[in-house]
């Protein structure tokens, strides 16, 4: 994953706002899990969120497509505010793709059916067109030959690439990655990261919760460090890794990079 091999020509950040989070707070029961989150994501940004476990980073991106409900503050995704209005939620969800740590493919459907299900039922795309799109994205993640197998027959890395392709089939404007490589064998991490890098090269707006610091350095334009439900530090990657400001960040970096 040499940095010089990455084509940065399309990796440009526009002035248009994709996600705007202001004064957002969330509690699990009495536990204050997200505290006063303020964050603006522009179109084309590639953001990596890192931090110790339990710091609320997964919860934060799960709030962006309302898999979790926030109790205070405002989240506006692509001009639509997330409230309890189901129509808005469905609209945001169909614009925002999400990739999970445990893939969450549908085991009773073939790979092709996994990919075409949402376009057919949510976007009302004709079946044939949906299948063409699906095959296009399957070739993009380099496993078109697996289209008629079931998820259980694929390796972890292949399943995660299918999951990425499944999200892409909805033609999302924003992609959220929730620790996409944490459940994978070391040999398979690279194939998933390569897929994510090629997605970044195509100019996708991405927010990734990950501990892959190599990926952060190569692709991200901003790294956010969270601890105890708060954003502790954010910076562009080179500064973030070479010159961390807060003591908490320094400690974290020394622990994950130190061995």
């Amino acid at each position: 994953m040499a940095e010089n091999a990455i084509d940065r020509s399309k990796m440009t950040v526009s002035d248009e706002v994709a996600i705007q989070i202001t004064g957002m707070n969330k509690w699990y029961g009495t536990f204050h899990v997200l505290r006063d989150i303020n964050m603006t994501v522009n179109k084309g940004e590639r953001i990596v969120i890192c931090g110790p476990s339990g710091s609320g980073k997964s919860t934060l991106i799960r709030c962006i497509n309302r898999l979790e409900e926030h109790q205070q503050g405002q989240i506006i995704v692509d001009g639509t505010e997330l409230t309890s209005d189901l129509k808005n939620i469905d609209k945001v969800r169909s614009e925002v793709g999400m990739v999970f740590q445990h893939f969450n493919l549908f085991p009773h459907l073939t790979i092709l059916e996994n990919l075409t299900l949402a376009p057919i039922w949510v976007r009302k795309v004709p079946k044939k067109e949906a299948e063409e799109t699906a095959m296009y994205f399957l070739s993009k993640v380099k496993i078109p030959e697996q289209a008629h197998k079931y998820p259980g027959q694929l390796s972890g890395g292949q399943q995660q690439r299918v999951a990425i392709a499944r999200s892409l089939c909805m033609k999302p404007r924003i992609m959220l990655f929730d620790e996409p490589t944490s459940a994978l064998d070391p040999e398979m991490i690279k194939e998933v990261l390569d897929t994510m890098i090629s997605l970044a090269q195509d100019g996708m707006t991405m927010i990734c919760v990950t501990h892959e610091m190599g990926f952060a350095q190569a692709v991200a334009n901003r790294v956010i460090f969270m601890d105890q439900g708060q954003i502790v530090e954010q910076n562009e990657p080179r500064e973030f890794f070479n010159n961390p400001q807060s003591d908490r960040t320094k400690l974290f970096l020394s622990q994950i990079l130190g061995h």
Partner: protein
């Protein structure tokens, strides 16, 4: 002596066949029958038990008499052929009374109607049980058709009706060959067809009921996109009720007068034997599955009212014995309903048995739902599927697959429980008909034969259901673990 730690394999080892004692019949015998002195002893004891059982029953079965007019005649034939004091079965009773076990007191000249209804049942089931498998569908319908025609000849149907039935079945076979999915339409109207065939009367009654359902479907179709699934269903249901209760008679009465098409009406008290068991069992099975799914979803709902109603219903129904509910059906319901409403006893029993079974099914399906990982719900949500889409496309197919053994167990239990209707005065095959047969002076004292006959038929049906469920589990297995 220095020992180097370094080791490099230059050649990978090829696979080898296992030793002789680890393969073939020797291995099987050793592993399954004679692995140790205790298991060898058990094997010998088991073999002895089988021999003893055969010794006890074989003469009785082999001396069986098929032609006789009474139990006494049976006994004298056995005594003459096998010697004084020999035992033997008297199947002659079955030969004389089989039709009562199957049809109860249904008029003999109309036997073709339940036979046809039973045959059409399998035609209606084919596209459901073997969805999308055209050859299997055709095979099932073809065999059913042939057997139905044979059975019609067996119950002495006049040739006009046999011909009619053959034409109908051939037409359905044609549909299965050309457009197998269109057969589902037949499955949809089958309940009305079966009702008309079994109870007879004017054809316009069932047609009116079907029209009500069509109205409901049309309203659902129109409103569902704008108002959502729940509202559309409710409005459709209310409209259908209005049609059934208030408007239907304005259409069907004049039609019935103008075109009095119909079969001779058969009253519910003529139903009995396996005809009764199948009517109650199949109606309750097919109605309790969707109801059970709704109850299971309701129990997991976030809406307090829906949730507490579902929980209340399930816990109440499961807490009350079925027999209590059957008594309710036969007696109490009449007190609670407005005077002069006269709902047929069989219909009342079907409703109560359905409610009873649906509570159990709901709990079985809830188990399946609980076994699904949360990630499946989240993935469906994240893709933008709404609640009903997620349930129908993602959650239910998986939850039902997990629940197949439990659901089929419930169905088997339900089918066998249909014999309990004897307690409310219906002539079920086990108690009702057997009692009647044994009250006959000719067959007084016969004991084993009717129960073996009835038991064998129950076993065949339940075993069939069980085998189908195993087929389905294999077919739906996609996890490749």
């Amino acid at each position: 002596m220095t020992k180097s730690l370094s080791f490099v394999r230059t050649q990978m080892l090829p696979q080898q066949a296992p030793p002789v004692t680890e393969r073939g019949a020797v291995k099987w015998l050793r592993e399954n029958l004679f692995s140790g002195w205790f298991n060898s002893l058990l094997t010998v004891l088991g073999a002895l038990a089988v021999v003893w059982l055969l010794q006890a029953t074989l003469p009785w079965l082999l001396n069986g008499v098929w032609t006789a007019n009474s139990l006494g005649e049976c006994r004298s034939i056995i005594a003459a052929s096998a010697g004084e004091g020999a035992v033997g079965a008297c199947w002659a009773m079955i030969r004389e009374r089989w039709h009562q076990f199957l049809f109860g007191f249904y008029p003999i000249e109309a036997y073709w109607r339940p036979v046809l209804a039973f045959g059409l049942l399998f035609v209606a089931l084919a596209p459901v049980l073997y969805f999308g498998l055209r050859r299997t569908n055709m095979l099932m319908i073809g065999i059913t058709g042939a057997l139905t025609v044979l059975a019609l000849l067996g119950v002495h149907t006049d040739s006009a009706h046999v011909l009619l039935v053959a034409v109908i079945l051939l037409a359905l076979l044609g549909v299965a060959a050309v457009a197998p999915t269109k057969l589902l339409w037949f499955t949809l109207i089958y309940p009305a067809v079966a009702f008309y065939l079994l109870w007879g009367g004017s054809v316009w009654g069932p047609v009116g009921v079907l029209l009500g359902l069509a109205i409901m479907a049309a309203i659902w179709w129109l409103l569902q996109a704008r108002l959502g699934v729940v509202v559309a269903t409710s409005v459709g249901f209310v409209a259908a009720c209005v049609w059934w209760l208030a408007l239907q008679s304005y259409l069907t009465t004049p039609l019935a007068n103008a075109m009095p098409l119909g079969l001779s009406a058969v009253n519910s008290d003529k139903f009995g034997g396996f005809l009764l068991s199948f009517v109650i069992g199949i109606a309750a099975i097919s109605a309790s599955l969707p109801l059970g799914i709704l109850l299971a979803l309701g129990r997991r709902s976030d809406m307090l009212l829906v949730k507490s109603l579902s929980v209340g219903f399930i816990e109440f129904v499961r807490g009350v014995p079925l027999i209590t509910m059957l008594f309710t059906a036969s007696l109490l319901l009449q007190y609670f309903l407005p005077p002069r409403t006269n709902i047929d006893l069989i219909l009342r029993v079907i409703i109560l048995v359905t409610l009873f079974a649906s509570a159990y099914i709901a709990e079985v399906i809830r188990g399946g739902l609980a076994a699904l990982p949360r990630g499946q719900y989240e993935a469906a949500d994240a893709l933008g599927l709404d609640y009903w889409q997620a349930q129908r496309l993602i959650i239910m197919p998986q939850a039902l697959k997990i629940s197949i053994p439990g659901i089929v167990s419930s169905f088997i239990g339900l089918f066998k429980d249909t014999t309990l209707v004897a307690l409310v005065g219906l002539a079920d095959p086990l108690q009702g008909i057997t009692k009647i047969v044994r009250a006959d002076i000719n067959w007084k004292g016969i004991y084993w034969e009717p129960f073996i006959f009835v038991g064998a038929i129950f076993f065949l049906v339940c075993f069939g259901m069980s085998r189908y469920s195993m087929y389905l589990e294999r077919k739906l297995k996609t996890d490749h673990r």
